[in-house]
């Protein structure tokens, strides 16, 4: 089963002893089956809060406003039991460090059997056969033997492949990959990117890739949302984001990436300033204090979502349609 995912006017705040932290504010995103969606931003931009909200794994002190609808069901309104049924069955998460995602005292074969708990129609032998096939598909040679390994016996790259296999074994309609290559070396990163690209051809659901790495996003995604300080500041087709970015933050972020320059730079570009305090988010634009194009309304009036084309939007006063 796979359906579309929509978050509308989604806000998340964390209640802390020092006041509420408005970690996510008025986020609208949508994703359709067959798409690879990228969520990119720096630390503190809210990308982890967003995916945790999508996977219904927010901590107890989080308060959600707005709606997350998947396949016509509002996830935020489900009770804990139904949420849990949905996770695993419909939503799978590949985390940054696959070491912590697996139980260290069970073999990966046993754990991958458990991942298929919803397949009541299959026996253990059939489940193990599926695992062997899936491990082969994600590029693990000698799958039968690897199933008897414990997580620590596998290298980081191999564990990430197993984590991807685990996510695919659940037949979920929504696969969230949170920084899937951050813990890996560059030659392994290239291989995992290649693997995800191959797999998407046969995968009918939605893939959401979260990363701070612009290169990974450009390599993998169809559409991209750029986040800053808890807001989606720009969204559009990957080509529009990388070649026709309109929001000053997106432009600055792209300009900072040293991978874009081949000639030696004497000074690497940076974004001066720092993130606003999210216990009291500014009333105007969140990026205004660091923006070189800020003018009168930016400091006081929240910028509107400006539709630049059917698929491209930016939340900025300075962007004319």
């Amino acid at each position: 089963m796979s359906g579309s995912l929509t978050a509308s006017d989604l806000s998340v705040r964390y209640e802390t002893p020092h006041g509420s932290v408005h970690a996510l504010r008025h986020v609208d995103i949508e994703a359709h089956p067959g798409e690879v969606i990228g969520i990119v931003g720096e630390s503190g931009c809210g990308k982890s809060t967003l995916v945790t909200a999508l996977a219904n794994l927010l901590p107890a002190n989080a308060r959600i406003d707005g709606s997350i609808s998947y396949n016509g069901v509002d996830l935020a309104k489900l009770d804990a039991h139904h949420q849990r049924l949905l996770r695993g069955d419909e939503i799978a998460l590949v985390s940054q460090d696959p070491m912590t995602a697996f139980n260290p005292v069970l073999t990966i074969g046993d754990q991958l059997v458990d991942f298929q708990h919803h397949r009541k129609d299959l026996g253990r032998a059939q489940k193990r056969a599926r695992i062997a096939a899936m491990l082969g598909r994600v590029g693990i040679a000698d799958a039968e033997r690897r199933m008897d390994c414990y997580p620590h016996e596998l290298s980081g790259g191999m564990r990430q492949r197993v984590a991807i296999a685990a996510a695919l074994l659940t037949d979920s309609g929504l696969l969230i990959a949170d920084e899937p290559t951050t813990a890996l070396d560059v030659t392994m990163e290239a291989q995992i990117i290649h693997l995800l690209r191959e797999l998407r051809r046969e995968y009918n659901g939605i893939i959401i890739v979260v990363s701070h790495h612009l290169g990974v996003i450009a390599e993998l995604c169809d559409r991209v949302y750029v986040m800053y300080a808890g807001e989606v500041v720009e969204g559009g087709e990957v080509d529009a984001i990388f070649h026709d970015a309109r929001h000053p933050y997106t432009q600055a972020l792209l300009a900072c990436d040293p991978a874009r320059f081949h000639e030696r730079l004497d000074r690497l570009p940076t974004i001066p300033g720092s993130l606003p305090n999210l216990t009291q988010p500014p009333s105007g634009c969140v990026y205004a204090p660091r923006c070189d194009r800020a003018f009168a309304p930016c400091g006081s009036v929240a910028p509107p979502q400006v539709k630049l084309s059917a698929s491209h939007m930016a939340r900025c006063h300075a962007v004319a349609p």
């Binding site: 070396d185 990163e189 612009l214 450009a218 972020l253 004497d266």
Partner: protein, 342 residues
Amino acid sequence: MSPLLAIDDLSVTFARSGLLSRLINPFPLPSFNVIDGVTLSLMPGETLGLVGESGSGKTTLARTILGLVRAAAGRIVFEGREVQTPADFRAMRRRSAMMFQDPVASLSPRLRIGTLLTEPQIIQGLPMPDRRAAAKALLALVGLPASFVDRFPHELSGGQARRVGVARALAMKPHLLLADEPTAGLDVSVQGDVLNLIGELKRELGFAAMIVTHNLAMIRHVSDRLAIMYLGRLVETGPTQDVFSAPMHPYTATLIQSEPIPDPRRRSQNPAVTGEIPSVFRRPSGCEFHTRCPIARDRCKTEAPAYRPMGADRMVRCHFPLETGGQEREAFSRASANQRGN
């Protein structure tokens, strides 16, 4: 000009087993070369990028240079004098400094920034009439407010902690700065900040730097020369621009090709290299890279290639280096293209 630092045929050996098994087992156990025959030099004021994947031994090499790990063989010559005894290393560390990888973990959580910044001088027994003023001067050097002297490390952001790391490393006015992954864990908008700061201070104070990293996109802008490591050995060294524009070792070419490009119109072809870096416990025979090399031939499996000069200021450890216009380079591109077709 004589080099500031010269390393000659340096090797570091780790025994595989712990003390207990050594006591139980009467026979000597095999040991493993984590660093093997590294020869490298650094000129005054130069920036060298030491690049490799995890497990390549780059951090161990940096630590060995400062005497934090003991070398099994080889020579380290710093400012014309061979460094051998612990006393030599202590004297060397007075004129060199290390920035450790994790900036927050390398600052003691119970000391204030002011104390942390002046600790090196105290340890080296240098006179310091006004500790607070000295700390404030160092904070000013790295662009942090003087009020930070009373803060604790946990009150700093990642970028600020990194700046404190830079200030502490430079407290002794070193001639050599070893920076281990100075940008790991930093956002792109902040990483430039730290590197620009190191670059500015380098111009101002004139020290030489060795930057240990796996981040190719960054190192290409901040280093003069590159040294690429694989399994504890240098496989290629040369001027940064030359190495990037025409890598000679297939491993270097692979690393450069693997880097994701932030441009959806130039999506990478499929990786030419598969598999992962082998363990130093099971070094492949012949050339260590032959198990993953797209252009490996029979000779590579049996005969270890020599580390030899290739033109001015370049060294390569490969039987079949990718020379411009040579058939090896064509074979390498063909191998990558074949992978793409699969």
